[in-house]
């Protein structure tokens, strides 16, 4: 309990809001709008899972928003050509992996700072997408919800996201490979001396985030009959915020995916598009400010605890 204090406090805040909603605004729990909300944010969860491990590995990737848009548009274009979903999915993931590999290559291979590398690739991919597509909507049409009904499609997406979370959370905790990531994040030199290969692991983390982003982009693309190419979707900061709120230390080596899960849920519940605010009588335009306050609160709480521990 004490060990995972940080995760528990986020979970407690989430629980508190959910209970408050149950008492004061039971209509929040109407299944359909809730399912829609959760479906809409499921891709964010997948990206946050990848982002969490990147940050645990003491790197950062701010290009995921652009990667997401590029993968989504490419996937949608293929769907529009009539490719089956099962064929498009691997293409989207492969594309994401490739772009992740470029980030990873520059960071791990040349030893460049990840924040600047991903800033550069973010701009490059975003503008390339704008140039080539001019922001024109892509028709996904028949492939919406993979061609299932809406309910089935939404469930598929949510379950996929949860399965990804589960696999990664368990892997990160119970697989040696998962522990290697922590080792590299907390002390890369010690990891090298212990026989691990920090550069390779860092590289693979970027590839992994790219792959997950490709998957998330595909799951987002099939949610509507048309896809709007939006490279400046702010996904990178959304994912980083969820990860930070979820208790992952930006200095690497600390945190787990259950905290990240709570962080994503917490930010989802109070997001501007969530019905929760409306039911609680808060105008939706306060959503972003409340999210900001939660992020800042989490950050300050971390700082406060660290400060107290020092003395």
């Amino acid at each position: 309990m004490k060990k995972h204090f940080r995760e528990w406090s986020v979970a407690a805040a989430l629980g508190f809001i959910l209970v408050a909603l149950a008492v004061f605004a039971p209509p929040f729990y109407h299944p359909q709008p809730l399912l829609s909300l959760v479906t809409y944010e499921a891709p964010t969860l997948i990206v946050a899972v990848g982002m969490a491990t990147i940050i645990i590995c003491r790197q950062i990737d701010i290009s995921v928003g652009s990667l997401f848009a590029v993968c989504g548009v490419c996937g949608a274009l293929l769907l529009d050509r009539g490719w089956p979903c099962l064929a498009v999915l691997p293409v989207s993931m492969l594309l994401g992996a490739l772009m992740g590999a470029i980030n990873g290559g520059l960071v791990a291979g040349l030893g460049l700072p990840s924040i600047v590398v991903t800033l550069a690739t973010m701009v490059t991919w975003a503008e390339a997408l704008r140039w080539l597509r001019q922001g024109v909507l892509v028709n996904v049409g028949h492939a919406q919800w993979f061609g299932f009904t809406q309910g089935e499609g939404q469930l598929t997406i949510v379950i996929t996201a949860l399965v990804i979370l589960l696999i990664n959370a368990v892997g990160l905790r119970h697989l040696a490979a998962g522990r290697f990531i922590y080792a590299v994040g907390t002390n890369a030199e010690a990891a090298r001396l212990a026989g691990l290969r920090p550069r390779l692991i860092t590289f693979l983390m970027f590839v992994r985030l790219g792959t997950l982003t490709g998957l998330a982009a595909f799951l987002a693309a099939v949610q509507a009959p048309t896809l709007q190419p939006k490279p400046d979707n702010g996904l990178e900061l959304k994912a980083i915020a969820a990860v930070v709120v979820g208790g992952v230390a930006i200095s690497g080596g600390r945190g787990n995916l259950w905290g990240v899960f709570c962080g994503v849920l917490l930010l989802t519940v109070v997001s501007p598009i969530s019905p929760a605010l409306v039911y609680l009588g808060i105008p939706s335009y306060w959503g972003k400010a409340i999210q900001g306050a939660i992020i800042l609160l989490a950050v300050v709480a971390d700082g406060w605890r660290a400060r107290k521990q020092k003395f």
Binding site: I60, I62, L106, L110, G111, L112, P113, I115, V116, V117, L119, A120, T121, M122, V123, T124, W125, A126, E127, A128, R130, W131, D232, L237, I240, A241, V244, I250, S251, P272, P283, S284, Y285, W286, G287, K288, A289, I290, Q291, G292, A293, I295, L296, A298, V299, V300, D302, G303, W304, A306, R307
Partner: protein, 351 residues
């Protein structure tokens, strides 16, 4: 053993040459756009090569330039400020509110905006120095909260517009053929340059960037120095906001979105190390102009504007790898060199 009389290592020279190369890139951009984007007709000369076009390029990017200027000391200290775009926007909103809804005169409303910016910078500084938190996440938090507040205050929709001419001259008028805001920019640029390169404050920023603990051990008040950098950033962000509001004659809650990254791009392209310590203000200025000319010049040459962003990204990677490459190469060369030297018989070991 390294002999004490060996010539100075190339680090300083290399940095100077980074700026030289950036200047060369800039000249290349400028010359190529001049030839590709200027045309002469019977009515006169039009396009990139006109003074108007040059003035407009400055007008359109002066806000990012201001943010890049004040981002430089922050990055020199090894920090970062993701909140400048949001702070810029929120200060504008405060300005609009004070002027339109509280019926305050423009100078007072503008002062209010500047104070808001300073306070926002102060909040960053407080959290960073007092709680010893990484600037990246502190400013990520303030980034969302100030943007969120801007949206909340305007209900995500309210717009302030139609400011009086006594205010819009700042963004729309020229004096001696140079846009008014450029004068403001030049003053800020000189001030920041002096601060960074000619005062003990600037010296301290570098020291903090290289070794925060070591700087504390030298008796330099690290917290106060950091606070100055962040408060300055907030204040100048508010100033940029005022210029932006004046240029477009409107204020919305979406203003300045993404400006923080544009500013960071200019600084890093200008040769400032993201880890802190080394970098110059004139480098930042060159980085800023190089990006500005690239993104606007393409339109004059009838090339897609998006190409500018792509080339900026590529340029950024090249600039970074260029500073790494010599190190990689020299290591490699050194290894080869000693590789040949070991072919001599090893000195006999005494037993």
């Amino acid at each position: 053993m390294s002999s004490p009389t060996s010539s100075p290592p190339g680090w300083k020279a290399a940095r100077r040459s980074h700026e030289f190369i950036l200047l060369a890139v800039l000249m290349a951009e400028w010359v190529s756009f001049y030839f590709a984007g200027t045309h002469h007709t019977s009515h006169g000369t039009f396009g990139f090569g006109t003074a108007d076009a040059q003035a407009d390029i400055l007008r359109h990017t002066v806000e990012i330039g201001l943010l890049a200027l004040v981002m430089t000391p922050i990055i020199l200290t090894g920090g970062i400020d993701l909140s400048v775009g949001s702070v810029m926007c929120f200060s504008e909103i405060v300005f609009g509110k004070l002027w339109r809804d509280a019926h305050m005169p423009i100078p007072i409303a503008a002062t209010g905006a500047l104070l808001t910016g300073a306070a926002a910078g102060g909040l960053n500084a407080l959290l960073i120095t007092w709680l010893r938190l990484p600037p990246l996440i502190v400013t990520l938090g303030t980034y969302s909260i100030f943007r969120g507040l801007a949206e909340a205050v305007t209900r995500g929709a309210d717009v302030f517009a139609e400011f009086p001419a006594s205010f819009t001259f700042l963004g729309e008028k020229s004096w001696l053929g140079v846009p008014v805001q450029v004068y403001v920019f030049v003053v800020v640029a000189i001030a920041v340059w002096l601060l960074v390169h000619r005062t003990t404050w600037g010296r301290s920023f570098r020291a903090i960037g290289y070794a925060p603990e070591g700087t504390r051990f030298a008796g330099i008040p690290v917290e106060r120095r950091l606070a100055l950098a962040y408060v300055l950033a907030g204040t100048v962000a508010a100033l940029a906001g005022l210029i932006y509001a004046s240029r477009l004659n409107q204020v919305t809650a979406a203003d300045g979105t993404g400006y923080e990254l544009a500013a960071i791009t200019a600084v890093v392209l200008g040769g400032t190390s993201i880890f802190g310590g080394s970098g110059t203000v004139h480098g930042t200025l060159l980085g800023w102009v190089a990006v500005a000319v690239l993104s606007e010049g393409l339109a004059y040459a009838n090339l897609p504007r998006e190409l500018g962003g792509m080339l900026t990204g590529v340029l950024l990677i090249l600039a970074l790898s260029a500073s790494i490459l010599p190190k990689v190469l020299s290591n490699w060369r050194a290894r080869r060199h000693t590789g040949t030297s070991t072919s001599q018989p090893p000195p006999p070991a005494s037993t």
